[in-house]
């Protein structure tokens, strides 16, 4: 474990960020490197999955531009979201806020999905078909991001202190569990789950995230209440919206399709 000391030159505020990396690499930007590797691997995975899309090759390649721009929008929202859920960053100068606020996955995911939907709609793409093939790339990118968290030391679990077969575990392995979960999701999306991937991903990831958040040991911030963490609140909102959508689809759309036949 080590502490990173941040002193804002214009205001006398010192933030201590606690980190628990798997391997201490000092100030080497391992998280950034894993994000880059994750981005490249997710693009390669998309190229592989794009064979399932019935469209011209150049159109399938050009979507990478929209994915990249949406990724930037996602990073932007991911950083900005933290300015509001962590009040200690509110009074910092702009560059200090950007530098120290970090990233929250959910804000980034929402920003990315909204942005890619808008861009694909404007460019005339069949967004439901393309988004279905992009979902495994999202889980793969997230997987590498979490490996970056494991090596960088953030997003750690709370203290638990238990032993399994002389192997001592000091903190609950939230990052390891999430890496495993995302790996399983990616494999399932590539093998068995070929349709409605976005709904399945949002539902199952939100459920997982809601429960794993109870075992997180780092600062979670504040969004709507002090009872649940911001990620738990967003997970609940996503789950409720998806359940409403699925109930609407089952009750109102199914009788209409029967009528048509």
């Amino acid at each position: 474990m080590y502490l990173r000391r941040i002193k804002c030159p214009s205001q006398i505020q010192i933030f201590m960020i606690e980190l628990h990396p798997l391997i201490n690499l000092g100030t080497f930007p391992i998280f950034n490197l894993l994000v880059a590797i994750g981005l490249i691997c997710s693009i390669i995975l998309y190229y592989y999955n794009s064979h399932n899309i019935d469209d011209r090759n150049y159109k399938k390649e050009d979507i990478i531009i929209y994915l990249g721009l949406s990724f930037l929008v996602g990073i932007f929202f991911s950083n900005i979201g933290n300015w509001y859920i962590f009040p200690e960053y509110t009074n910092l100068p702009l560059f200090q806020k950007i530098k120290h606020a970090g990233y929250t996955f959910y804000f980034g995911l929402i920003g990315f999905i909204v942005s890619i939907l808008i861009l694909m709609k404007l460019a005339g793409y069949a967004y439901n078909i393309y988004l279905n093939e992009i979902v495994p790339s999202i889980t793969m990118f997230h997987l590498f991001g979490r490996i970056g968290c494991l090596l960088g030391g953030c997003c750690y679990g709370n203290l638990c202190d238990f032993s399994i077969m002389s192997f001592h575990i000091h903190r609950f392995p939230v990052r390891e569990f999430e890496i495993l979960y995302l790996l399983i999701l990616t494999i399932l999306f590539q093998t068995i789950l070929k349709k409605n991937r976005l709904i399945i991903y949002l539902l199952f990831y939100s459920l997982f995230r809601f429960f794993i958040e109870f075992k997180r040991g780092d600062a979670r911030g504040h969004l709507f209440s002090n009872i649940l963490s911001p990620s738990q609140e967003i997970s609940l909102i996503i789950i409720v919206f998806l359940l409403i959508y699925l109930i609407f689809k089952i009750i109102f759309l199914k009788p209409n399709t029967l009528k048509a036949t």
Partner: protein, 125 residues
């Protein structure tokens, strides 16, 4: 009417990796520039201004490199010009003796050259 497209993913890869390496490079450049200015006797606000300027140049370089790298196949000329511009901006932050900016500069330069030199294919509109 036909349009020429690139065939290589190297500009995109160089843009992504270069941008990610330039991010800590921008932060480093800002801190080093502010430090160097302080050591030369300037006041803290002037030093902070210099630091912010170098950090902004570094971040703009990363942004231009990333976005233009994505256009490596669709618009090779745009990608090439953008990546070369990003390498110039990364080179400016190099005056603060920044290792990450050096890596970003080399990657953007390779990406820019490859964008122009890659094999092109004709696409019938």
């Amino acid at each position: 009417m036909s349009k020429k497209r690139g065939t290589s993913i190297v500009p995109m890869l160089m843009g992504i990796i270069g941008a990610v390496m330039q991010l800590p490079g921008a932060l480093c450049a800002g801190a080093c520039a502010a430090g160097l200015d302080s050591m030369s006797g300037k006041g803290s606000s002037a030093a902070q201004g210099t630091g912010n300027t170098f950090m902004a140049i570094g971040l703009i370089s990363a942004l231009i490199g990333f976005v233009c790298g994505l256009f490596g196949k669709k618009s090779p000329v745009f990608a090439g010009i953008g990546l070369l511009l990003a390498s110039v901006l990364a080179g400016i932050t190099l005056v603060t003796f920044n290792f990450f900016s050096l890596i970003a500069l080399i990657l953007f330069l390779i990406g820019g050259i490859m964008a122009f030199a890659q094999k092109k294919e004709e696409l019938q509109a």
